[in-house]
């Protein structure tokens, strides 16, 4: 059992973390493209048209890898977590189905117009397509975060017993209130945080490439305007995400107190320290190398430095994250919060100098922005690691009740006991350790290849840069004027998708 459990968790972590490199960038870039194309539609300034075109190519490559790695996730719930799927299908499945119907069709349908339709539809229709792609990508975040939040703070359901043909009784969660399930106590908070994290990802991605161009003295007009759109968008998002993170911390304190204690290394109940640095040491029940504000966490949660917060000692060791995972939870949470704060400061400094008009002369600052693109990637990954590892040892969290505001109880034997992660696995008879190992090896190799190719193609796009300014292609009938319209352009000279072959190349049969 342990083998398959550990292997299945490694497999899930590998595939979900790799997948999650891409969707946040799609969401963020999508929103920024809507801004850029909206400015173009308003002002008619061709630079903004050019900007939308360039970023849409980057978007398309990113989107393709996101889709390819996303299907894996949908298969894995059933393949490795069959018991979990049976338990939550009634609840979780409907969110997943809604995601497909409302989000994926919207995204993938209009993506075709966004990428391939520049010369096939009018500019208003094209803007509409960009808007729909951006909305679709946010919708997909909505439904998957709702489903995931339900696993953290389940609501709107009851537990039902089912008798199997051999007489054994198993339980499953069934919906009794759809809207209570959708708006479970943590969905809105977490959704806002996730989407803002994605916005930051998009903004810092654009700023990084734009700053790189400015430093090299290339595509200056394009780069400076892209940077400006992105820093306004990113600056607002970075402040908003800090506020949302604060809200989120308070919500976790109430909904999952054991998780908060694990995130902050709060071993003994009492006033809790807010750490900036440190490493929890479970054996000695303390945080080594700790640097923080005593009582700071209590203040964050209750506006009172002296207020006691339940520590890990308040929970049965079987009901809280295992000791050996504490450093993972603590570190990932603090990396997210620390790097997130630095990103906020950086974007505020950038906004200040942009306002003063001297940003593009400050090369040190531009260099910082080039490197800062890694920040949101790290934050987004670490945030999810802290959230999901912090939920352990449960895959669906049990009901938490409070006797008074210092004494929480995990009702693991109540009517809503949740589900332990080990009980969510597929049957050992159906899926053995060997199959899981093979799949991990396969995914590692395939994803490594994909990653190398993605970086290579992305680098190629960045080095190539935007196209020289030219009037936007006129709308033509698909069979008629298109040839004439493309005849006076260099072959494949401006597509995502550009076929770098001004010289025809024989693919070889």
């Amino acid at each position: 059992m342990d083998d398959v459990l550990l292997l299945s968790r490694i497999q899930f972590a590998l595939t979900i973390m790799f997948h999650y490199l891409f969707p946040p960038l799609s969401i963020g870039l999508g929103a920024i493209m809507v801004l850029m194309e909206g400015i173009y539609l308003r002002t008619g300034d061709l630079v903004y048209h050019n900007m939308t075109r360039f970023w849409s190519r980057v978007f398309a490559v990113n989107f393709a890898v996101g889709v390819a790695t996303g299907i894996v996730m949908e298969f894995e719930f059933g393949s490795n977590w069959a018991r979990y799927s049976r338990y939550v299908g009634d609840v979780f499945g409907s969110a997943l189905a809604a995601e497909g119907i409302f989000a994926f069709f919207l995204e993938s349908g209009f993506l075709a117009v966004l990428v391939f339709g520049w010369d096939r539809v009018g500019k208003r229709m094209h803007f509409f397509a960009t808007l729909m792609v951006a909305l679709g990508s946010i919708f997909s975040a909505v439904w998957i975060v709702v489903a995931n939040s339900w696993m953290h703070t389940p609501a709107g359901y009851e537990v039902q017993s089912v008798v199997n043909p051999d007489g054994a009784v198993v339980t499953r969660a069934v919906i009794n209130d759809f809207w209570a399930m959708v708006f479970n106590p943590s969905s809105v908070n977490r959704l806002v945080h996730v989407v803002l994290g994605a916005f930051l990802q998009g903004a810092f991605f654009v700023m990084s490439i734009a700053a790189y161009y400015v430093l090299g003295g290339r595509h200056l007009d394009f780069a400076k305007r892209s940077f400006t759109v992105a820093i306004v968008f990113g600056g607002i998002s970075s402040v908003a995400i800090a506020l949302s993170g604060h809200e989120q911390g308070r919500a976790v304190a109430h909904n999952q107190p054991a998780k908060l204690a694990a995130m902050e290394g709060h071993f003994k109940s009492g006033p809790a320290t807010l750490y900036a640095l440190g490493l929890p040491d479970a054996e000695h029940q303390r945080v080594n190398f700790g640097l923080g504000i005593p009582g700071g966490l209590s203040f964050m949660v209750h506006n009172d430095f002296g207020k006691s917060l339940p520590g890990l000692d308040r929970f049965d060791p079987a009901d809280r994250p295992p000791d050996k995972l504490l450093p993972v939870i603590f570190t990932s949470y603090h990396m997210m919060a620390g790097i997130g704060t630095l990103l906020m400061l950086l974007s505020l400094v950038g906004l200040f100098f942009r306002w003063r008009g001297t940003l593009f002369e400050r090369r040190w600052l531009l260099r910082a922005f080039v490197v800062a693109v890694f920040g949101p990637f790290i934050c987004n990954q670490c945030g999810w690691v802290a959230a999901e590892v912090g939920r352990q040892p449960f895959i669906v969290y049990p009901e938490v009740t409070w006797q008074d505001d210092e004494t929480p109880t995990m009702n693991t034997h109540g009517t809503r006991p949740g589900m332990r992660t080990e009980h969510g696995l597929s049957s050992q008879h159906a899926v053995g350790p060997r199959q899981v190992v093979q799949s991990i090896v396969m995914f590692s190799l395939v994803y490594l290849l994909l990653f190398i190719v993605w970086v290579h193609v992305l680098n190629d796009k960045i080095q190539h840069g935007p196209d020289p300014l030219e009037p936007p292609p006129s709308t033509t009938s698909p069979t008629g004027l298109l040839q004439a319209a493309t005849a006076n352009k260099p072959a494949g000279g401006e597509s995502l998708t550009r076929a770098d072959d001004s010289v025809a190349i024989d693919g070889g049969a």
């Binding site: 889709v67 049976r86 499945g93 497909g100 395939v446």
Partner: protein, 356 residues
């Protein structure tokens, strides 16, 4: 503790039909994409291969969403069947994922570099992945007809090895049947894809595609006759339903007419008519597959009592009702913009500045 009902509720039947519709929609729409991929290496030079990829370029992604939604709907409506199928077909599912990944990224990455080896490698990966996806879908359908060694909990009692996957589990009515249905799926999609390519191309390339289409058609016809014969001989339970509901005979009869109409329409130069007919043929196969299974979703070879049916594998009627509302709200939109996208990208393939 609710006992499992003996008769399916109307919501359960509705969702059985809807899951079938999603499956048929996927097979029809992604079917021609996969068919184009299967034929891809027959294209002679870079220009032809770009025409092939661009014929499906704007569409394949939306078509693949039908599979994602099929999976989501199966998960939501029949969680036990979803769990049993995906854990049971573990090796097959992982291979399928691998193939789907390569199918998608091959198109995206191929055009990014002009190097001959680069494009050649992605061409090969595109063709192998498309063929693999088609074959594996056919194999899984064959395995579902044969049944799986399901235990009382709704899980397999032993892992399905690669040999079992391809030939059917030991003790199955007809060993080797999934292999046949796998090849059948490849030939069906190749035919479907060649008709699609015929519509999207012109000139000498189109004339060559016409030849492939006829070859694909006759290969399809031969395998169709073999698979049909084997199905009738090996799965008497599937045909019994036709005695109980004689009206069902309409479907296989119409199916034969549609198959014949493919050749008639192609012969008289109406490729769109042929395409619609081959879409109907795929829909009919899905329907017959559904009739053969109903009310089962997955048949247990261990004990009929362990089979997963629309009654014992379904979510609650409340959830099925909520999802019906979701589908009712979403589907009109989906159909509207799917139609819009197909309209925007109608006509022959033109390699332009925005192409792959």
């Amino acid at each position: 503790m609710d006992p499992v009902a003996l008769e399916p509720s109307s919501l359960q039947i509705t969702w059985f039909v809807l899951v079938g519709v999603l499956m048929a929609g996927y097979a029809i729409l992604d079917g021609f994409d996969l068919g184009v991929g299967i034929l891809h290496l027959l294209a002679r030079d870079d220009t032809e291969r770009r025409i092939f990829m661009n014929s499906i370029g704007p569409l394949w992604d939306g078509n693949e969403v039908w599979l994602v939604v099929f999976g989501g709907a199966l998960f939501a409506a029949f969680p036990k069947a979803y769990a049993a199928a995906f854990s049971g077909f573990y090796t097959g599912a992982m291979a399928l994922l691998c193939a789907l990944i390569f199918r998608g990224v091959s198109m995206e990455f191929r055009s990014k570099r002009p190097w001959r080896w680069w494009r050649g490698a992605w061409d090969l990966s595109f063709c192998v992945a498309s063929t693999g996806v088609s074959f594996l879908f056919g194999v899984v359908v064959g395995d579902c007809m044969q049944g799986l060694p399901l235990g009382p909990e709704g899980d397999l009692t032993q892992p399905l090895t690669l040999v079992d996957l391809l030939l059917g589990p030991a003790g199955a009515p007809l060993r080797g049947y999934p292999l046949m249905t796998g090849l059948f799926a490849v030939s069906t999609f190749a035919m479907h894809g060649s008709i699609y390519l015929y519509m999207k191309t012109e000139g000498a390339l189109q004339a060559r595609i016409r030849r492939w289409m006829w070859i694909a058609y006759f290969v399809f016809l031969a395998i169709y006759l073999i698979v049909s014969g084997c199905t009738v001989a090996a799965f008497p339970a599937a045909t019994e339903k036709f005695h109980d509901y004689p009206l069902l005979w309409a479907v296989p009869l119409l199916n034969v007419l549609a198959i014949l109409n493919i050749s008639r329409a192609m012969y008289s130069g109406r490729p769109f008519g042929a395409f619609l007919s081959s879409a109907c043929v795929i829909a009919a196969f899905t329907f017959l597959f559904g009739v053969a299974l109903f009310p089962n979703l997955l048949v247990s070879t261990e004990d009929p009592a362990y089979s997963l049916t629309v009654m014992n594998a379904a979510s609650t009627d409340k959830t099925l009702g909520i999802m019906l509302v979701v589908a009712g709200l979403g589907l009109p939109f989906v159909l509207t913009y799917t139609a819009t996208i197909y309209w925007v990208f109608r006509g022959k393939v033109q390699i332009g500045g925005f192409s792959y």
